[in-house]
Symmetry: D2
């Protein structure tokens, strides 16, 4: 699945919900997403809100799984743990998700979030997705 | 701070962002929030999305801290870890946050999310907030 | 499986490793373990060490799964997240594990650790175990 | 603090507890620890146990903090979250801890655990340490 295909998929899945994020890279085991923040994503002081970062993390982690599995509607988030490291102040925020493990039942991703071009991440997350079982016992 | 005062605070803080959640209970060490879901909160199949649950968890945890500290703008989420336990399908979702520890530097909350009236939680989270330091060395 | 059976199992599994913990309660969805601390479990100041608490948490969570599945050697820890809430000072430490969810692929437990008889927990953990797949597709 | 100084510190802190791990690298923001496993660290099948990995993770994360702060007895683990990714089978296990953030109140480390020489990590952890406050308000 290419980044263009991923964006087509997202536009269909989130039609009408004002999605602003887009996939900018899809390669085996890695996906990068980019969000141009608007007023709904900001907290006083111009901070990109925690929920905005968490939502982008979840989407990027899912896209990273899709680099292996393609679209699997039964793939669901099992755990998301995020550490907020420093203020996230800027107009464009990027989440870079890498697959640490993809097994039969679970995929585990490491995700960095940063303002586009920033040296240091604003937050770091580990996300676990539960994968659907194939009829023959193989994972998705 | 009462639930009414908490809602007044939230309305001011999130003016114009289409906030739909409200605080329904504030008591020492505990806060409950309630969200009437609309299309922006749903995934195909009528599931309340993970980001919607995470956002409600973060808000409820913050409100639980405020039962001790009042409004402290420098209180920031340090870690949020959520386990999605079962599908969250329904119109109204509730997050119930309880303070497990409030110390000088950190507050740690346990948060259950469930469809209003449901027996079992849809998700369970642990949230850590970093507290600002008072000039005299006491925590917020 | 009763607490006695659980202890017999543990003694066989950990023969020769100086195990000091024992199961004191097994009921559906819950297991309690108890450890009499010795010098190897302590840090300066008489604190029960973090690794000692984590080890007891992991064992108690596994025992809680066993109340549903019996002994399943292929059940493995997938994630353990622990928050240390307050100093754990005393001679006997207890971990109380409750199953929040047991599904086809995963079991998620909530575990409190406290000095025996203490009012407040010293630490709180959430533990996820991956369950082996049965040939017929059912979970363990 | 050099690796030799770190080992001298550890030997003094854990005298009589049969410590087998040693620090092999200390550089700003990073520490590596190495453990030669014995029977007490193994599970049936020759797996390095989860508690052994967690204990090594906690120590390596603490050492990484010490590359900034030196020895600070009041530095305590606040949260440890570990994902077990694949079996950890071998004689020597290594934990590589890197500081993602060191602030006034908290330090957050990313830790990989692997069998010495292995390509892929057996587990990955994120560890948060709470730092003591200096009388003048600066962090440790």
């Amino acid at each position: 699945m290419t980044a263009d295909e991923a964006n087509t998929f997202l536009s269909a899945a989130f039609v009408g919900t004002g999605r602003r994020s887009e996939v900018t890279l899809m390669e085996e085991g890695r996906a990068v997403m980019r969000l141009v923040a608007d007023a709904t994503h900001l907290r006083p002081g111009g901070y990109i809100s925690g929920p905005t970062q968490m939502s982008l993390v979840d989407s990027a982690a899912y896209m990273a799984v899709m680099t292996y599995t393609g679209h699997e509607p039964m793939t669901v988030t099992s755990n998301l743990s995020i550490n907020f490291l420093r203020p996230c102040i800027g107009d464009v925020v990027v989440a870079d998700a890498r697959v640490m493990k993809i097994g039969q039942a679970l995929a585990v991703m490491d995700v960095d979030v940063r303002i586009e071009g920033a040296d240091k991440p604003a937050s770091h997350a580990v996300v676990t997705y539960a994968l659907p079982r194939k009829p023959d016992g193989r994972a998705a």
